[in-house]
Symmetry: C2
Subunit: 251 residues, 2 copies
């Protein structure tokens, strides 16, 4: 019986860190702008899972294998996007099997889903989407049916944003929930070179709050700076914001 | 005298590979959508420098140091974006100095540029932008004046796209030029599961061409697939495209 410990754990949810591995020549070549990182970070953030590192690698077997192995050992979760379709440039599933040193073979349930969906349009290419590391668990795909999958802490999802998002939303009950990091942001017309000293003082005053300062060029000329405060304690963020705004009003 | 060898080298320009390191909590948190990767890949591609890997790390000293050290040893060039402003969350320059085990100190020319630009508005925060690894070479910044810099094969640039682009365009004469990888793309209404076999055959027929297949959901319903062919020989790309299109017309 660990009732006390469990209660304590609920009161102080753990810090959970994730990495994302974006797989695809089309992102590296600049042809396609990745849209999954921003969406996934935001989605995971609400579950209390912090995006801690992202890598983009080409559709090259060895590159995928080594990145997956580095990331799955360094972070609580790894989320991959891209390379699980039916065409021969889709090599992610086989690379994941290699990373875990597992056989790459038909997943019986995935095969049934595809056979049912495609009916007499099923062919070898489409069936390839049912090949996975042995023992992989499926991630439901309500959009185009071919499932994603996960092995241990590595979640393998499609690259098409609509499908990736549908898959990720099916992970809500699967992923552990951690401490949610909140953020407050506000904008000032003061220049970064003017507010820097105040920010340094705020960092000392509120060591549990992380401060980010992001300048932006305005269309009509001039600049503004957005301050972003992040931390686990919402009240502390509000107190820090008030403190900073008071100092700013004197600048 | 290596005349013959040099001639040979010009006829077959080298394959040059680059990595990009995007530094910033704002990208990882999903608050800001990175726009630099697509632009920089495209820009470098035209110089014959291939983007081979990208990493995104938070504003954390150790994470920057270890990523820089891994990437600069693995690739011909590393390009970093973000974290070189005047506020205390800007820690990139100091981390680069640590990665190279170089002192972090005022660069005399950078200091002069900032003093000249800011005049009597100069202060400690703004002067911090002149602190760099000892011996760093400057990258001119025509937009907001605070220069970027490079040490050996690592190029340190601003995160604001407008400034990053201006800095990168100043590197044209500094970077070596490699073999330019061309690409051709075209779209088909055929589904991926239908064209897969033809693509596999094309990959065997044209081993020097890389084939990518990217499905997309259309707004009005249905899907289309974009085929992207990449390679060093433009004529080979055209031949491969013609070959594929002929096979497609029979499907």
């Amino acid at each position: 019986m660990h009732t006390e410990k469990n209660t304590l754990k609920q009161a102080n949810p753990p810090e959970i860190k994730a990495a994302m591995l974006i797989i695809g020549d089309e992102i590296l070549s600049g042809r396609t702008q990745d849209k999954n990182l921003a969406w996934l970070s935001d989605y995971l953030g609400k579950l209390g899972i912090q995006m801690a590192e992202v890598r983009v690698v080409p559709d090259v077997h060895e590159k995928i294998v080594s990145a997956v192995n580095e990331l799955r050992r360094a972070y609580d979760y790894v989320f991959t996007t891209g390379g699980i379709g039916p065409t021969p440039d889709d090599i992610t599933a086989e690379a994941i099997a290699a990373a875990f040193d597992l056989p790459y073979q038909f997943h019986p349930d995935a095969k049934k889903i595809l056979e049912h969906f495609y009916g007499d349009q099923i062919n070898e290419a489409r069936l390839r989407m049912a090949k996975m590391p042995r023992g992989a668990k499926l991630i439901d795909n309500p959009v185009s049916h071919a499932p994603g999958f996960y092995v241990e802490n590595v979640f393998v999802m499609a690259g098409v944003p609509k499908i990736m998002q549908a898959m990720a939303m099916n992970l809500d009950g699967v992923l552990a929930r951690g401490a949610v990091r909140h953020q407050i942001s506000f904008t000032t017309p003061l220049r970064e070179g003017v507010i820097s000293e105040t920010l340094a003082a705020a960092m000392k005053e509120f060591p549990d709050v992380s401060f980010g300062s992001y300048p932006r060029f305005l269309d009509g000329g001039g600049t503004e700076v957005t301050l972003v405060l992040r931390g686990y304690d919402e009240t502390a963020l509000q107190t820090a914001q008030k403190w900073v705004l008071e100092k700013f009003s004197a600048l």
